[in-house]
């Protein structure tokens, strides 16, 4: 085990695990999005490839790789090929500073459930996301197509405008916690008011949280702010001319940005991996959820509505009960408990926010372009400044 203490090797292992999990999540996030939107619109979504379409992401990857990568003759080749590369690299790099859990000790190796902690972690994410706009803008411009160009222009204008309320919304919890590091931010949010209300920033900073989430929708080019790729006006916006893997790169970048925004919202406002209930009770929540889910699945498996339910639902139920047993086991193994509880609460909160993103996409129509700009500058921006000033006043009055 001695070689594990080598910083380089430990970092490589952690990076490999995080990269694998992140890329799998991105692929399945798309499956979840199609399923959820399908059910919102009273369809069933992907269903043919594997049980309930579970192998659809794999099939999509194979399809995208084997498709011909068309290089249109009228594009600016260098920038056309560079743009998806910039987009995907800058989207994936932010995950390096996101912490998933507290410090853990396995054997005699002590490490953090995080790739690296910068003491300017929050600024780092802002910097990377502000440079990320070049991927979209360049892609739109290099395609030499008026729809793409319009998409790229809209995207750069939109991202500059919404970055201001986003940064101002982030500044308010920074004032409260007095730090720029994600770890210290989560530590600040541990504990409970009156013994049961978690000390998360979302309660004093509810306005800031709402501004952050709304600006987050705009930063990730999601509905209702999806004007850079508005299908009914701009064909497909900035990625009209892209095909095969370069198209997939833009697609992946969008989902990676979504994961980053939700993870940052979780860390800044929702207490990161801190459970919403005090210690002894919060340990039983995951067990209860998985046992309950498993029992429901087994029950419906015993009373099948469709032919295949006899096999798929009991199998799902058994998996759920197995996870519940793992959580139960973890109550007696402190290391396992630290890892599992942190992952459960962190992924749970990120998952809920991601569901919100998908839900909004399935529900809301999109803005007109002038409405979008007016909303950013006349509503969100002043609101964020007032929120920041109010927070600053409270901090100044209460600090010793």
């Amino acid at each position: 085990m001695d070689f594990l203490q080598n910083f380089l090797i430990l970092s490589l292992i952690k990076a490999a695990v995080v990269a694998f999990v992140l890329l799998t999540t991105l692929a399945y996030l798309q499956w979840i999005e199609r399923k959820v939107i399908g059910h919102i619109q009273l369809r069933i979504g992907p269903y043919r490839v594997g049980p309930h379409g579970l192998l659809q992401p794999l099939a999509d990857v194979v399809k995208l790789i084997t498709k011909e990568g068309v290089l249109p003759s009228h594009v600016n080749k260098f920038f056309y090929l560079l743009a998806p590369f910039i987009a995907v690299v800058l989207a994936l790099i932010s995950i390096a500073v996101i912490p998933f859990g507290p410090q853990i000790t396995i054997g005699h190796v002590t490490t953090w459930m995080q790739l690296t902690d910068l003491n300017i972690g929050i600024l780092f994410v802002l910097a990377v996301s502000s440079v990320g706009v070049y991927g979209v803008a360049l892609g739109g411009w290099a395609s030499n197509n008026k729809y793409s160009l319009l998409g790229g222009l809209r995207s750069s204008a939109q991202m500059i405008s919404y970055e201001l309320p986003l940064a101002l919304a982030i500044a308010a919890p920074l004032l409260l916690a007095n730090t720029l590091s994600f770890r210290e931010m989560v530590d600040y949010q541990s504990g409970y008011w009156l013994g049961f209300i978690p000390r998360w920033n979302v309660f004093p900073e509810i306005v800031g949280f709402c501004i952050f989430v709304i600006a987050g929708f705009a930063e990730t080019n999601r509905v209702p702010f999806d004007l850079p790729e508005a299908e009914n006006e701009l064909v497909a916006g900035f990625h009209t001319e892209y095909s095969s893997m370069s198209f997939a790169a833009f697609f992946m970048a969008e989902y990676a940005n979504m994961v980053t925004v939700t993870a940052v919202a979780t860390l800044l406002f929702l207490g990161g991996w801190q459970p919403p209930f005090p210690e002894p009770y919060s340990n039983f929540i995951p067990i209860l959820i998985f046992v309950f889910g498993g029992l429901i699945a087994v029950f419906h498996g015993l009373h099948p509505a469709r032919r295949m339910d006899k096999f798929t639902l009991p199998a799902t139920g058994l998996v759920f009960l197995g996870i519940a047993a793992l959580f139960g086991l973890s109550l007696f193994v402190p290391v396992l408990k630290t890892i599992l509880m942190a992952l459960f609460w962190f992924c749970g909160k990120v998952g809920l926010l991601l569901f919100l993103f998908i839900w909004v996409r399935g529900t809301l129509p999109h803005f007109r372009y002038d409405q979008l700009m007016r909303f950013a500058w006349i509503v969100l921006f002043p609101l964020a400044i007032v929120n920041l000033l109010a927070t600053g006043l409270v901090v100044a009055l209460t600090s010793k």
Partner: protein, 166 residues
């Protein structure tokens, strides 16, 4: 190790700087400038100026250069046409003379400056956000406030000028 990283990013910065001048297309020049800023940010980071590095990326590479690129795209500026052919002899002689001139200047400056100690990577610890904030609001309060007022005047001026057009 640190020296190697420094050399890599210093090399990228110089390469992008030359490319910024040499490129004929405005977008390529703008992107080269972003490359210069990015590698400078990494060198700041290496010197311990974490906050400056982040500010460099957010303000210069992220905000200002996006506006540059935005305007270039909006005007749809094409590649600049080079009208005048410079004779081959002039070009090579010019390069040689320029290199000699720059070498002379750097030699004179180095001879005139007092001897300083070499830079040690990782020795400077005053670059954190907290340290900079404390300095700004104690030692450098007056310059900070004056700069803020100056920027405010510039913003007001921009609004007034833009209003007149409408």
């Amino acid at each position: 190790m640190t020296a190697l990283i420094f050399l890599i990013f210093a090399g990228i910065a110089v390469f992008c700087g030359v490319s910024l001048v040499a490129q004929t297309h405005p977008i390529a020049s703008a992107l080269s400038l972003i490359g210069v800023m990015g590698s400078l940010a990494l060198i700041y980071l290496q010197l311990g100026g974490e906050f400056i590095a982040a500010a460099q990326m957010i303000v210069y590479a992220g905000a200002i250069m996006v506006l540059f690129v935005f305007v270039i795209m909006l005007l749809n500026a094409g590649a600049e046409a080079t009208s005048r052919q410079i004779p081959l002899l002039n070009r090579y002689l010019g390069m040689f003379l320029l290199a000699a001139f720059l070498g002379l200047i750097s030699f004179i400056i180095q001879a005139m400056l007092p001897k300083t100690e070499g830079v040690v990577f990782g020795a400077y610890m005053g670059g954190t956000a907290a340290a900079i904030g404390r300095k700004l609001f104690t030692v450098y309060l007056l310059p900070f406030e004056v700069t803020s007022v100056l920027i405010l005047i510039a913003i007001l001026g921009a609004i007034v000028l833009a209003r007149r057009e409408v």
